[in-house]
Symmetry: C2
């Protein structure tokens, strides 16, 4: 198998794009990525998306986007793994290039959550959870996360206010990202006054409903320097799964799928958490940020939040997270998020992260989580030269 | 890259399974396939499905099915390409095994179309077409096919009754398949009296709405004989795409995506249509059967129907099609269909097709079509010993 590199990235600004359709969002990101890589065609296009059918009445995104981009004929599928759909599409692209079935693959993550036809978005998002044993009982996706957050606070003796650093950090970093949805600061005081969504989760614990698309162009690493001045090698790519329903988990406060996924990725990359310069984690809710830090080996059980409280998650901290705003401030167009995370790691490793730049970043990690932890996909990226 | 073989197959009976959930259907097929192959684990599970979100309010099928099958932790995604989702999942499995990223992959196609929560099934199926430029204008999926059928009749001077052989053949063969939904004959006279659905398409031109699941187990060909007495090699696997909207096509009566897909698959297999012993085509509507025969090179333009009228599509004909009932009689649980087609080709090549057995079948082809032709996926299979 061959090493795979990222030779181009593209993204749209995340936001409520009431006047832009899904296909236009995808096109903008895809064209930006292909222009960045300097390629005019691809062997395959894999599209990460979760809710196009439910929300805008459109399936079959692979062929739709291939055709709309002028790439009619090209192999193209949609890949779905709930909120981890973006990284799942990337994973399929890596498998295709690493194995030699494709030389150039374009991965597009896209989600259109405003101007919808379908059910309300809360109902649609609950399809990431167990339909028969969670959603059908009336529990929403935010409610599942609220149960986890309450339990975490109870087990380890934290207050709600202790979660503030995640939102504060994400918004501080998002202000430096022109593609982020929210470009304003959040203080700990403002976090304390956040509107309650689902006790104990308030508005500032939560990532927003929004639209966006991001794209990555992959090529064999040994050919990458022909396309990109700073190609980024994919050193690890691994998936772990777990039960959809929280009540079926071994321990609700341990993301076993994420533990497995991170461990496999570290093994592939021959590194450990201490070697990671930045970590784009899946802060759909602040509780997920804490649990992800623990699952990925940056903190012991119950200590993920401590890392944040100790100021170690900032750009100059021990484990910089959500360096371009994360799901909280960049936004969380669900099926696109996993691709945005990797685009941002590439920006960091290229040294193009502006005021959010992590100094001398050479190794970055992204972890995309589907549902409340049933799918976890970890990618470790390394600057090649 | 390595050759890939199919070492196990499984399927549920297709039908209206009002009392069986999606996860139970998937489990039954997956367990049958894994038992057939004699494997207890997999490196990855790829699930072909189109409409689980819209119809039963459940996304995230990869992790759901992995966990329900006792394979928690395993890499698992849903792959979607409208009605070609099943073959798309198979394609991803082949890419993973051929490239060396996985040794054992389980591919599951599943669709649950009865006992639904969501929009009516006709609305959901239209999501295979162009949402903005076809479905939003009020055209249903059957209406798109009706336009194509009317145009075909007009261009080439056929009557509606000329399409009867497709239904007659499919039902005759389905009677020999215990997994088929319909196990009764259809005569040309009965076809003539079929209830009108969308002029000129009548009930007996149309595949049924139904539930079902099928599974395939893949392994490297050089290890296949350890698992299966008659392993089946995948000699060709190729995808072609086209515009979703019929009005955007080069010629509405030529399935360019299917032409491309078949040509690529023939090249990989180093064969031509004359070498194919049976062809599981995508007879979602009888017009699609005619167009598929032409796209795959078995007949010239406008002559696909002639092949059927000349009696060449039966088990002993020149191009046996829908040998186990096809979409028409076996049934068309949309995201599962592409997997059923390949399971049936395997049965033929193993010599286990019962009264529908094609004599001395050594090379079989399956072509799964998404939408009215925007995705076409062709697989060519060869008996190994």
């Amino acid at each position: 198998m061959r090493d795979v590199a990222i030779i181009g990235v593209g993204q749209t600004k995340v936001g409520e794009h009431w006047d832009v359709s899904l296909r236009h969002l995808a096109l903008e990101a895809l064209q930006a990525g292909m222009a960045d890589a300097g390629v005019a065609r691809a062997d395959a296009i894999y599209v990460g998306n979760m809710l196009s059918g439910e929300l805008i009445g459109q399936e079959h995104l692979g062929a739709l986007i291939a055709d709309f981009a002028g790439l009619r004929g090209t192999e193209a599928f949609k890949i779905e793994a709930a909120c981890a759909s973006g990284a799942a599409a990337l994973r399929m692209g890596i498998v295709a290039v690493a194995g030699g079935m494709a030389n150039i693959v374009v991965v597009v993550g896209v989600e259109k959550m405003t101007d919808t036809l379908g059910p309300d978005t809360t109902t649609a998002l609950a399809m990431a959870a167990d339909g028969d044993y969670e959603a059908a009982q009336g529990v929403s996706f935010v409610a599942i996360n609220a149960l986890l957050m309450r339990r975490y606070m109870h087990e380890y003796g934290y207050s709600h206010q202790d979660f503030a650093p995640f939102a504060v950090n994400a918004h501080r970093n998002g202000m430096n990202n022109p593609f982020a949805m929210f470009q304003f600061p959040v203080t700990a005081e403002r976090f304390a006054r956040g509107k309650m969504i689902c006790d104990p989760i308030n508005l500032l614990d939560s990532s927003p409903i929004c639209d966006g698309a991001a794209a990555l162009v992959l090529a064999p690493a040994d050919a990458a320097s022909a396309f990109s001045a700073v190609p980024i090698r994919i050193a690890g790519s691994a998936v772990g799964t777990d039960a959809l329903a929280v009540h079926d988990r071994r321990d609700p406060l341990v993301l076993d799928g994420a533990v497995l996924s991170a461990r496999r990725a570290y093994e592939q990359a021959h590194i450990g958490p201490q070697d990671v310069d930045l970590f784009e984690l899946h802060d759909a809710f602040s509780i997920m940020a804490a649990l992800s830090l623990e699952a990925a080996g940056f903190a012991d059980k119950g200590q993920g939040l401590r890392l944040a409280l100790d100021g170690e998650i900032g750009i100059e901290g021990r484990v910089p997270v959500t360096t371009m705003g994360g799901l909280k401030a960049r936004g969380h167009p669900v099926g696109a998020t996993g691709v945005y995370q990797v685009v941002e790691v590439v920006q960091q490793l290229r040294g193009l992260a502006g005021a959010s730049q992590v100094l001398d970043a050479r190794v970055g990690m992204a972890q995309n989580i589907g549902g409340s932890g049933a799918t976890a996909i970890t990618h470790i990226l390394e600057r090649m030269e």
